[in-house]
Amino acid sequence: MTLTPTLLLAGIERTLNALLARDPAAPSRLARLSGNRLLLRLERPELALAIHFHPDGLDLLSPQETPEDAFDACVELNAEALGELLGGESIERLLFQGKLSVRGRAHLLEEARDLLLDLDLDWEGELASWLGDAPAHNLAEGLRRASRWGRRAHSEMRSDIAEFVFEEAKLLPGRHQLDNLRDHLTELEVTTDRLAARLDRLHRQLAHEASL
């Protein structure tokens, strides 16, 4: 028997618990969830996952042979719905769209989702425990500045490339020119159809007169 899935689950569990341990707000959320068991069944790829919440984090286990009634809530969904769920999509909407089904305590799913989505990691505090307050603050500030510069540079580069391609070098038509061209082509198509109809009518008239 391969131990790869067990290893993967152990790795994910360890990572999540390490992240939760770094969120100052996690203990109070975990206290509310503690003792609850959530069963997640994924269709395509077929996968089942048992999540046990406890005051220090969560345990991820493969729910082998554990009956469904041992869980406080059982959630069935596909990979797409899981992505939407973790992307912050409303659980009610997913339920109404039939992408998600929940048996048992539906609120447990919402609380579990919020626990992960509302993670607010105190990276600077964690760095400070390793490097000291001042170096950690300087490093964090530097990273924040680099991140802001990266976002600004990305946005400016997109704008500059668009301006060069559409306006200066005119390598591609702009959105406005494209719309204009599409309108002209539509008009040409309508006019051509009309002309074809008129020619047909004349053709029929000539054929009728020749037969008299």
């Binding site: 131990l3 067990t6 290893l7 152990a10 003792g35 068991r37 286990l61 729910p63 082998q64």
Partner: protein
């Protein structure tokens, strides 16, 4: 392993590759574990490259333990399984960590208390051959890497079956026989050459780790242990080979 009869009609049993009087085995095994208790976790990680954690994790997944259950972790040593079980059974359940060795039990208790585990865990120094619990007490019984050190394995399995509730399950995680001959050869080299040296370097005790390798070879193979569990009164006994059969997880149910 059952006690054997020597030509002198004196009951003997295996202690690694040696044959020792039955009365002596428990104390000699105890000496081994007194010697390694303090470094037991470090050595386990080193010897198995950390894979023992995955083997134990799989045992927990197969246990089917639920909130409110009673679990007996025999030869629980430093409490790896008990730690997880205590969270799974919750405040309404209970976990009994039992070990015949006082040093191991003390290390396990200290480790669990340091990790904030207390309310639902009890510690019992007990011999697996005559468990001090009433009939039909536990929903699940585990023995991880402990059965091969028991003098009379049949008695231990019968005792476990007795204290198990009907419908409950016994899980035996133990070293076994590799199924691939090449792996078996590499495993022998590792066990008899490298392991005692690692034991000497880390725990300062090569003999104990030599005993470990020898006791693994003397332990019944997968099929034999399955038959022993069935003979003890367990039903639907099945096993799963892990890491090529170096370890096997046997599971039986009391009906």
């Amino acid at each position: 392993m059952s006690p054997l009869s020597s030509p002198g009609d004196k009951h003997t049993t295996h202690f690694g590759y040696q044959e020792v009087p039955v009365d002596e085995k428990a104390s000699r095994v105890a000496d081994v574990f007194h010697s390694v208790a303090a470094r037991y976790d470090v050595m386990n990680d080193l010897m198995s490259f950390g894979i023992h954690r995955l083997w134990k994790r799989l045992t927990i997944e197969r246990s089917g333990v639920r909130p409110g259950h009673s679990v007996l972790d025999i030869a629980g040593g430093t409490g790896d399984l008990t730690y997880k079980f205590s969270r799974m059974v919750g405040p309404r359940g209970r976990v009994v960590l039992a070990d015949i060795n006082e040093s191991m039990l003390r290390v396990g208790r200290d480790k669990l208390l340091d990790n904030g585990v207390g309310g639902n865990v009890e510690y019992v120094q007990a011999n697996a051959e005559c468990l001090p619990f009433p009939d039909n007490t536990f929903d699940c019984i585990t023995i991880a890497f402990g059965l091969r050190n028991v003098t009379d394995k049949e008695s231990a399995l019968r005792s476990m079956t007795r204290v198990l509730k009907p419908g409950g399950r016994v899980l035996v995680l133990e070293f076994s026989k590799p199924i691939n001959p090449l792996l078996s050869k590499a495993y022998d080299e590792y066990s008899f050459r490298l392991l005692p040296r690692m034991g000497q370097m880390v725990a300062g005790d090569a003999d104990s780790y030599r005993y470990l390798a020898e006791s693994i070879r003397m332990h019944p193979d997968q099929e034999t242990l399955q038959q022993m569990m069935e003979a003890a009164g367990l039903e639907r006994v099945e096993y799963t080979n892990l890491t090529g059969g170096i370890v096997a997880l046997h599971r039986g149910i009391k009906l």
